[in-house]
Subunit: 461 residues, 3 copies
């Protein structure tokens, strides 16, 4: 490029085949696991330790020196000690000046300290170049050599060159570095491995609660009622029949709950006349877990499909069918084809199939690798247009299934409605309100508001 | 870039916890949404505006100044104004010298201007460092805080450091920056959000056209013919029976259309004796939408599978089966097992299952995250070898299904063939030609040509 | 990071719209394909060749010069010649000084040479800046314009600026560059395109072997035995019945084999009292292919599900059912509902459905894009907890299916057990040992060991 380019070559100094020495402070579990892995990958490793005696615990090819001696041997120092002991590094500040310090620490709780460990380290040693890395990898996975979990290592730091050096090590260990920007991102990176599906908690508890309620509701109506009033023991309904009633109900309700917050948001915006005020907190949270609600709904819908498809294989169903056929045969008559029944049965199945098909399509587009490949116009087209179509099909599927039973008093055992009737309340409400929102007289001001227009600019925050 | 760049090379200057001030030119919808989001993420925001009066429209924590004053307060200036007003920035050139200008504009049409907006801005202000970013994010998504669409922000620019600064902001807003290289990529990035599934258009219209044709073809043969000549009202066939005839036909034809262009390409290359001449345009376009054709074929195949599996649940089918059984019972005889029928029925089903299984495998490997993890040898192995196997299985499935009906004149209502016969034309043609192409006497020259050999070097372009 | 960094800022010099000239050494297939593609993307291309006569082979818009002349015209030189001819570049060392040399070569075998081709080139020309790139792209894909395979181009090199320049070209050609770090990664990148599913080989051969064995085992017991002793020709069982016995057996055994190495590892660690010693090689390899084993198990399970669901559509099954019904009708009696049978049949189906559901969930989380979005706590929760739950459900499914037959001597044709009994051996063993490992008296020391505690520190490596 130009004559100066030779200087740039300092950037990746390992032009020779030899890897640079790496220093590790601390001989705890993670320090040892990382050392093992680095030695395997061809890095000379030197440990910095208070006592140089415990050499039998650490990898045998590694050297053990005092902290000061070890630090002088390497340009990169991995700080495998806990945050509360960071203070002891302060006297070493001069030796550590200009060195790359890799903070790999994790906390026990989310946001345990006001600033992240890496930022705290950078404050203690302002002359060093701190990089956050490796905290998202488990020592066990590193040690066992079977990195079955994610191979991504989040890296952040204010010094681009230092970050490059650490990322080269990450790559050499067979992992994938992911640059998360400046050291400000350390807090987020330190919180990352502490989470266990944070966005899934509310949707899962909601589903479990509703499922339990509907299960016992069905148990009462289908098994206990039948046992008391008709003296039939249908206890085996617990295995398939009742799950196959609860699953579609859950799928339909959860799918409607995906679209309900959008309807609320539209109403709130219309009422306020502006989009520049934040929604209430509950609505914000609800909108953020719509994807999770939708995926759980899809899981219930899939179970419903499989439970339905195995119907002909069930001993009970075979028995019921053959009983029907034998009674016709014994009565010497064949029933003619009931055209209305054929229509209802086929419509009901076809609507369900189409609804489920669109549902699966929505699920596929929510896979991260697929949604990253579509722009937001495409994403909204799929998730909004196709999503409503799926909701319409599924609601119609349930309505046709119910058919004429709605007005039939025998469908109301103990004066309670069947659960598929309960399941229709929210979807129908969502569809009716959405239908109103589509009318030009409502849609036009809403569109204007969403494009930034405000009814009463004075009231905006 | 220039001598001033060394100052900027403090590359990530926000070592202190305080974020750097960001200036936004323009108080339109996107400018305000971005400002809101930045203030939420801890950035001090200052707006540059012609009139500093309209402060009630913009976020209340933001300052509003004249353009010149605002620009002096920040190193990064977001240009949230439309391209046609870029001219007014020229008088500010001196103040903007060395500053990072973030072009976030979009156009209304693909390739509306000869050069991209970002390149135009860079030409107007040669002393500034222009970065293209944020145009792929929707204001609505930013504002509502629910970034349900893709979180990817494409960033491009000629100045690496300026790009880093913008990418740090992108990360701080909770989005994922994706470096697209130099400012030359701006055109592509500006076109990106204007597209609505560009590669899917032709395959979808083709499928819709063919589906409509086959639907009415079936309607005529199965419902109208039966109504006229056999006085049976099978109108409910519209719901399941006819879709379940159209779907497999569409799946098979579209799958064959995936492999047809490859066969054409081979023939053209053999004829020309070189691979160094471009294919005709129609063939190029066809080859580019093979993946989409295949995925639509998979959708039809999946629908066919579900439509088939619900067969035993249909009222019409139950009625037909019980009618058959009752008539046997009334005639006091049981038919023996027909071994040929059992073979045909099981083969037909097994071939279909295997074909569908391979089809789904092809679909899974075409997921972006899966295909990125295989090299091209592996990809071609799956898509070519397994793909042809799937085509063979599916064609055989249809052939066995047809069975002996091909020669049966009663299968030709109104002298028209059943649609599954029509569906076999293209697949059989593809398989026969492919079979010929595998012969060593054809395969050898073709392989040579594809490795760069040319029959008549003179004629190459 | 230091005063030289300002020089680096020349980094993206193509501020003007004109692309920089690229030189290609070598007019072989890949050189020509790459040249074509670059000219299409707007790059002036100049070829360096021994003879400047063969101009009709190369793209017509390209210039052909001697090596020395061509090299002087460009900052980037693509070395499209084979490794054994690299020597001839040595005399050009002075001209190539400071130039970016792009090594695109591949080898014919894995690890053919002690050092990678790119490192060899860097050793020959220490003054040049070598970048490895493009070797993972196929010439055919480049030429045909239909990059149906992965668009990822792995790039590595010691010079950051040179790498940036090459990555800009990669992006301009419509491909996605992926920075793999320093030139040390070249070996890995050169091996990459030579692989054909390396991790899949053992699992696939194991599955093929076991499948063949079980197929003939079933053939003997179900078809040949029946033919010899019961004079029934059930040869059509080959199409569906036998596959549907082999598939679930394979799925269960392979799923158990996924969890068996983890159990072995725990026992070995307990016995050794440390986790800091490597597992035996066979165990390491086994653990590395667990994901592949699991996915093949899922494929077998999916086939089993579809094979089972088509049961009611089979001619043989219809015949058997109608025979049963007719014989009841002719005997003028209807069997009452057998409540135990109803329970067993429904339990068996419900357990299978739940097991398969969890299995599919495991499959989805093993998609790269999904597993990249979970941290290792989440990943282990899903793969370990849900995985064992799936194994428990599937084993219970098989046990309930077997039911009372285990003690029935007629189930042992030729004194051989039915294959579903064979399939239960490994899963039951895994579950029993895992159950023992959960006991606190065993689990506590194991957890300690996995956190780094050692029983006999002296014995550690």
């Amino acid at each position: 490029m130009n004559k100066n380019s030779s200087n740039i070559m300092a950037l990746a100094p390992n032009t020779s085949n030899k890897r640079e020495t790496v220093c590790i402070f601390g001989t705890g579990d993670f320090g040892r696991a990382l050392g093992h892995k680095m030695i395997q990958s061809g890095y000379p490793v030197v440990y910095g330790s208070r006592s140089t005696q415990i050499s039998n615990l650490i990898p045998k090819d590694a050297e053990v020196l005092s902290h000061a001696e070890a630090a002088q041997k390497a340009a990169i120092i991995i700080i495998a000690i806990q945050r509360q002991h960071y203070n002891f590094l302060v006297p070493l500040a001069e030796i550590l000046h200009g060195k790359v310090l890799v903070d790999i620490s994790n906390n026990l709780k989310l946001n345990q300290y006001p600033e992240s460990n890496a930022e705290y380290l950078a404050q203690l040693l302002p002359g060093s170049r701190v990089v956050k890395a490796f905290n998202t990898v488990s020592a066990w996975a590193l040690q066992s050599g079977t990195l079955d979990a994610s191979r991504q290592v989040f890296v952040c730091g204010d010094d681009v060159e230092a970050k490059q050096m650490v990322m080269n090590i990450v790559r050499a260990l067979g992992l994938t570095p992911l640059d998360k920007g400046s050291l400000l991102a350390a807090q987020e990176i330190e919180n990352y491995p502490l989470q266990l599906f944070p966005m899934w908690k509310f949707p899962i508890f909601l589903s479990l609660g509703l499922t339990t309620f509907f299960f016992f509701y069905c148990l009462a109506l289908d098994v206990i009622y039948t046992y008391i009033y008709e003296k039939n023991n249908f206890s085996f309904f617990i295995a398939i029949t009742i799950p196959n009633r609860v699953c579609p109900v859950m799928a339909l309700i959860l799918l409607a709950l995906v679209y309900l917050p959008g309807v609320f948001a539209a109403i709130i915006q219309l009422y306020r006349g502006t989009k520049y005020r934040r929604f209430p907190d509950w609505l914000d949270k609800w909108m953020l877990c719509r994807k999770q609600l939708g995926l759980i709904a899809l899981a219930f819908a899939s179970l419903h499909v499989v439970f339905t498809l195995v119907t002909p294989l069930r001993a009970f169903v075979s028995w019921r069918i053959s009983k029907g056929i034998i009674s016709q045969a014994l009565n010497n008559k064949t029933e003619p084809l009931n055209n209305t029944n054929a229509w209802i049965s086929d419509c009901y199945l076809a609507l369900g199939i189409l609804g489920f098909f669109l549902f699966v399509l929505l699920g596929i587009t929510s896979l991260p690798s697929v949604s990253n490949n579509v722009n937001w116009r495409e994403f909204r087209f799929v998730q909004s247009k196709l999503g409503y179509l799926a909701l319409i099909f599924c609601t119609a599927h349930t309505l046709v299934y119910g058919g004429k039973w709605f007005l039939n008093p025998s469908a109301y055992k103990w004066y309670l409605p069947n659960i598929y009737m309960l399941s229709l309340v929210i979807p129908c409400a969502v569809l009716v309100v959405k239908f109103v929102l589509i009318f030009p007289c409502v849609d036009k001001p809403l569109t204007q508001i969403r494009q930034g227009w405000e009814r009463n600019p004075k009231h905006s925050e």
